[in-house]
């Protein structure tokens, strides 16, 4: 049996911000990380930036991003489905994060190639999320935080909303796992969502979930979340919703991360397994549509889509990590992709004849659209007629889930009976649903993680030290 002031489940951005804050305040802190060291940090390892409010640009951030504008953006993407008080705290305190993280050893860089639109609003970590994590781990270790890798919280001893101890299985993936009990005077849950738990996803999506790809860590299985809900903590967010985006269908089952994105949809047509189109590919710019396409593809037979483009467009988007299938005729391409050739050729012929407009410009809403077909393609519609032809596969890629624990402004969990918990706190994806009821805003997940990581660390340390 070991004893700490603060026990934290999860060693990602939120957990480490909490650990660093609590340890800096003088608390003894232990972090239980389910992944081995090489995989540490949950989905933070796949991130690259954080959306932060600021009144002036700073040389790297290219201009001001006031809290008011940030709030407008948040209200727009969530359609108002947010806890206003917690949202205000998140955005207000996001102003402190640039300097705070820099003090913990995190470096920044100008926005990366292909992401210029985020250069004003988002702070990009030099070297990406894993580099950021390395810095946070270094700082946490230097403050004496004890970190257990490859350690899983198998059960939580919580009585009437008061945490006593956690049973932890060390080396849980090995042949000789060992159990230990870690006592704490406060518990911070920063263990992410349940997006890697296919069984849980199937509760909402049925067997279709078996064809989902998980973009991030396989360690976000939602076990801590389930234990907290079972212990009577109030939930927040739609249990059936997850953030699903359309990604390259050849991505690995887990941890494919950023390189599996595919930006080519607006340049061609997307066919389902029957060779039919099913949605307007040119409705809006891809960064504003990729999240919708995850659901669209999930609703198609076999949860798959095929993007067909021709040689006019092949160099207009970021190169994908997986090369496209390539053929000189549509019939050959149909064979390569396994699509019914007749249906595919017919769909593309109809599409080609429906294309109108001559001023193609993929950087603005141009006048290239279709007339007389359903569904229409409203922008960037050009006939697919210049061989060679290319095909990419789309699958739904799950980024995160919305279900979480309900918290107050001190990051303290609220029980299902409406009362405050005794010493339970939460930070990061496991409570992001309080702020992000639906939708997503690039980089806000990390903001919520750092802001509430710090708040949870402060609150827990205050409670146990005073």
């Amino acid at each position: 049996m070991t004893r700490f002031h603060v026990v934290i489940a999860g060693g990602g951005n939120a957990g480490l911000c909490a650990a660093i804050t609590a340890a800096s305040a003088g608390a003894t802190v232990c972090v239980i990380e389910a992944a081995p060291k090489g995989w540490r940090g949950g989905n933070t390892r796949h991130t690259r930036n954080m959306r932060v409010a600021h009144d002036e640009g700073n040389g790297i951030l290219t201009g001001p991003y006031p809290v008011e504008e940030y709030m407008e953006d948040l209200l727009r993407v969530t359609a108002g489905n947010t806890n206003q008080e917690l949202a205000t705290i998140t955005l207000e305190r996001s102003k402190e994060l640039w300097d705070y993280l820099a003090e913990q050893g995190v470096h920044y860089q100008p926005s990366l190639g292909g992401t210029l639109s985020l250069g004003r609003t988002n702070a990009f970590f030099l070297g990406g999320g894993r580099s950021m994590l390395n810095a946070l781990y270094r700082t946490a270790e230097s403050l004496g935080v004890v970190i257990h890798y490859d350690a899983k919280v198998t059960s939580l001893d919580i009585q009437d909303g008061v945490f006593n101890s956690a049973t932890v299985t060390h080396g849980w993936q090995s042949d000789s796992p060992e159990e230990s009990t870690i006592e704490g005077r406060a518990f911070i849950a920063a263990a992410g969502g349940f997006e890697a738990n296919i069984e849980w996803l199937k509760e909402a999506w049925g067997t279709a979930a078996e064809n989902f790809l998980i973009r991030g860590t396989p360690y976000n299985r939602g076990e801590v979340l389930r234990q907290l809900l079972d212990a009577g903590v109030a939930s927040v967010g739609d249990s059936k919703q997850c953030h699903a985006v359309a990604i390259d269908g050849r991505a690995p089952k887990f941890d494919g991360g950023i390189v599996t994105r595919l930006d080519c949809v607006p340049f061609g047509v997307v066919l389902n397994a029957h060779g039919q189109r099913f949605y307007d590919e040119g409705e809006d710019f891809w960064p504003k549509r990729y999240a919708i396409w995850g659901r669209l593809v999930a609703a198609q037979p076999d949860q798959v889509g095929h993007v067909i483009i021709d040689s006019k467009s092949i160099d207009l988007f970021m190169p994908s990590v997986f090369p496209p299938l390539k053929a000189d005729t549509l019939e050959e391409l149909a064979q390569l992709t396994g699509l019914p050739a007749d249906a595919m050729v017919q769909t593309i012929d109809a599409f080609n004849h429906a294309c109108q407009g001559a001023n193609f410009d993929h950087t603005e809403y141009d006048d290239c659209h279709t007339v007389g077909i359903e569904p229409a393609k409203t922008h960037w519609a050009r006939p697919i007629d210049k061989p060679p032809f290319y095909a990419y596969t789309l699958r739904p890629g799950i980024t995160f889930t919305y279900l979480g624990v309900k918290i107050d402004s001190n990051a303290r969990m609220i029980m299902a009976n409406g009362r405050n918990s005794g010493n339970l706190y939460a930070a990061g994806e496991i409570m992001a649903g309080n702020v992000l009821g639906q939708g997503y805003l690039a980089g806000i997940g990390m903001t919520i993680g750092s802001v509430f990581g710090r708040i949870a660390g402060e609150s827990a340390a205050n409670a146990v030290l005073n």
Partner: protein, 352 residues
Amino acid sequence: MGVCNACRYCEGLCAVFPAMELRRQLSGPDVDYLANLCHSCGACYFDCQYAEPHEFAIGVPTVLADLREESYARYAWPGFLAPLFERNGLWVALITAFSVTVFVLGFILFSNPGVLFASGSEEGAFYRAMPHNTMAGLFGSVFLYSIIAMVLSVRKFWRASESQGSASWRSIWQATRDAAKLRNLEGGGMGCMHKSETPSNARRVAHHFTFYGFLLCLASTSTATVMHYLFGVQAPYPWWSPTVILGVLGGIGLILGPIGLLGVKKGSHSALRPVSGSGMDVAFLVMLLATSVTGLLLLFFRATPAMGILLAIHLGVVFALFLTMPYGKFVHGLYRYVSLVRHAHEQAGDKQ
């Protein structure tokens, strides 16, 4: 590299990634260029979400380290000497041993055997052991040969990959500053991660000692030439002469630097090391160390009977160093500098 081009998180770490992004397809000479642009700071390995244990197993510094060693052989002049880069450590050791032996025997055979145990710090003492014209002629020609071999190698390297127009003075100046500061060994600002994900400045500092030590030694030799030919003063030179002061400072740099680099190398992470075991790094560092140690020993013991033999050994080592320069790790500096020039050039062109 497909993964890197689709990810781009490392864009700010060093020159390699912006250079990679300019090329959708990488051809042979472009790969050699990127390999030599890489300073092997390791940041992109420890920051990489796709490095092992990820199934993509991306290891940019490892791949580039191997390609870099291969590229040295590819551009060697004359081409038939390229195999010297394989098992480089062995070749350098053999050549050095041979060279030192020849100098010692030469002292015995061509002057009287007594000079080997002669002492002397008075003017002209060295040249009683070996006539000045012989020494100058011998070292002048090996130096000239090395320069020619290296110039031709670098020319081949520069011409191998296409560039738009010739490099401007501005690009050359930019590359010179980058090289002088080892800017690309900083991992974008965090520091070099030669050992683990915890950055350290040890490698950069040790390299600075080595590099600037080498330059000071070069300056020392140059002042000696000036003293000899312009002022007619013969070696050995007094303690206060620029030759000795620069030589001692340079020698100290060339002792501390290589020892530091050997230490760093020993503790370096396997992801930063080439898979092939040519031994060229260690060979070159040991040669530099041998040069400085024998040089300083000669300085300290030149008034004793050890002068003759120390002079023979020092000259043997220096001769071997010059001779092996175009066929050893020394060339890394040349190709890297040229790559930095190309990088500055294409980045400037990119912005126009």
